[in-house]
Amino acid sequence: MSKFSTVWVFSDTASRLPELMGAARQLGENVRVIVQGNEPSAQAFRLGADAAYDLGTIPADRIIEDYADTLVQAIKSQGASALVLLPATRRCKALSARLGARLAAGVVNDANELVLQDGHLVATHMVYGGLAFGKEQITTPYAVTTLNSGVFEAATEDSARTGSATPLEFVAPKNPITCVSRNAKQSNSVDLGKARLVVSVGRGIGNQANISIAEALSNAMGAELGCSRPVAENEKWMERERYVGISGIMIKPELYLALGISGQIQHMVGANGAQIIMAINKDKNAPIFQYADYGLVGDLMKIVPALTEALKR
């Protein structure tokens, strides 16, 4: 078997659907999509769905996770084995566990790679905070996985493809959860994950006041400012949202410029996705230089202001 006979797709986030469809079409003969409403249904067909199923309008006090029984009924009605693909959002992770329990299926979250080996899904996901990747084989007839973004190519839309969705009747769960209210999140201005250029500060900067020289450099470059774990967690010089590394955030900028960061593996797992790594450190034996494309050995207090001036010119 080189493909699953059936792949089910559900996305709680519209923007993730094209990529999930790309994965589904690559992994399955027959792609069935669960949608909410007409426009998403039409889009699912344009993206290559062989069938679509509509959950209808979801009442405000109900959460999507409570549709697990509804999904399970639809999935089981179409065969005793299938792959279920969801995006790796918090909501879909809650849903994936519920589907796994009800379908007696193995579940892998945050998949970074999906392949079919000997008829079984093998999913790769990050373990030990990013130090390593675990390869996990799902051995059950149904397999459930939540997929990270950027793993598969998005399916392209074909406007000639159309179809109509089958409505699904809501199967009430045994223990419903009531949604009292829902509010858009106060957006945090820091989003290192999307920054093209990141200047990052380690404990080698010396003290909190010295961070201003790194700030001046990052402003001159148009970069976001990040930091290492000790700067955020031990010294509390910067917010947690800015800390790169194990249990912090993983970034993929075009440039990562590390200032006074020694370069422990636990930090580098967060920065290794950078296209180019540059580092300044006074210790020429610092491990950071093993990971750097360009390194400069010397005093930050002298180098950083000089670089800032040089870039302004």
């Binding site: 809650a94 193995g106 130090l131 999140k185 440039l255």
Partner: protein
């Protein structure tokens, strides 16, 4: 009211090194309580501060590391009134479905109104055990809880933080709630709490005490390997004189574009 706070012992990630073949060397690591589970324990203690009728049971399943008296004292010094461990050789490699089945049997035996878990363990980070535990027990379960708004005898109201929105949810008890790291900042136990921990009751069970047969896993972990290191140019300039800084600035300018 009885609250179970679940935790897992995991290897201290700061001590893990990578072998030449990409496998991880865990031989120099100490066992520690998974960071996210400290949030769950702290959340249980915060509820007890508001309501002294609460009895907190810390609960874990795993291998022989759970027999270590120091580790038992560590968890009890953080506030729970009692500890229940289900441990035997082999359980340290349990995958989520198996862990949830064991915890469910232990929770059923001990009784509970509310179970608190971390969103995932800092080692495998499967992010399923709390949710699967709820399924195995036939009670409501939810993840990503960033605040407990209210706890009554029959319901718990929580705030749940998602990627782009925040929900307020009501769950009927009994329930399982997996908390995110935003919920609190776990405290470091005081000397008095550490000394008091030794006097708290501990129950050690095995699968057989729970009538649990062999729970097979739905997945097989094939390998755990560090990612291949990206090849880097490693152009290292030594010295912070004007010329060296200018050379470095030139590289930086090219990269910025």
């Amino acid at each position: 009211m009885k609250i179970i706070a679940c935790y897992k012992l995991i290897p201290e990630e700061q001590d893990i090194t990578v072998n030449g073949d990409g496998t991880l060397n865990l031989s120099k690591t100490d066992a520690k309580i998974s960071q996210f589970d400290l949030n769950a324990i702290e959340a249980a203690c915060a509820l007890k501060q508001q309501n002294s009728d609460i009895h907190i049971v810390a609960m874990s399943t795993g291998g022989e590391a759970l027999a270590n008296p120091k580790g038992r004292k560590d968890v009890l010094s953080r506030g729970p009134d009692e500890l229940i461990v289900v441990s035997e050789p082999g359980l340290e490699n349990a995958l989520p479905h198996q862990t949830a089945a064991t915890l469910a049997a232990a929770a059923q035996k001990s009784g509970f109104d509310l179970i608190l878990c971390g969103d995932g363990s800092a080692d495998l980070y499967a992010q399923q055990v709390g949710l699967l535990l709820g399924e195995a027990l036939g009670v409501s379960a939810i993840n990503g809880v960033s605040r407990i708004i209210n706890l009554s005898d029959t319901q718990i109201q929580v705030e749940r933080t998602l990627e782009d929105e925040v929900e307020t949810l009501t769950l009927n008890l009994p329930a399982v709630v997996a908390v995110s790291t935003d919920i609190n900042a776990p405290q470091i136990p005081s000397m008095k709490a550490i000394l008091g921990a030794a006097k708290k009751p501990v129950q050690a069970w095995q699968s057989a005490d729970l009538g649990l047969g062999n729970v097979s896993s739905y997945t097989t972990l094939l390998s755990v390997l560090a990612p291949q290191q990206k090849a880097r140019a490693r152009v290292i300039i030594e010295g912070d004189g004007e010329d060296q800084i200018a050379e470095f600035a030139e590289h930086l300018r090219k990269v910025i574009g």
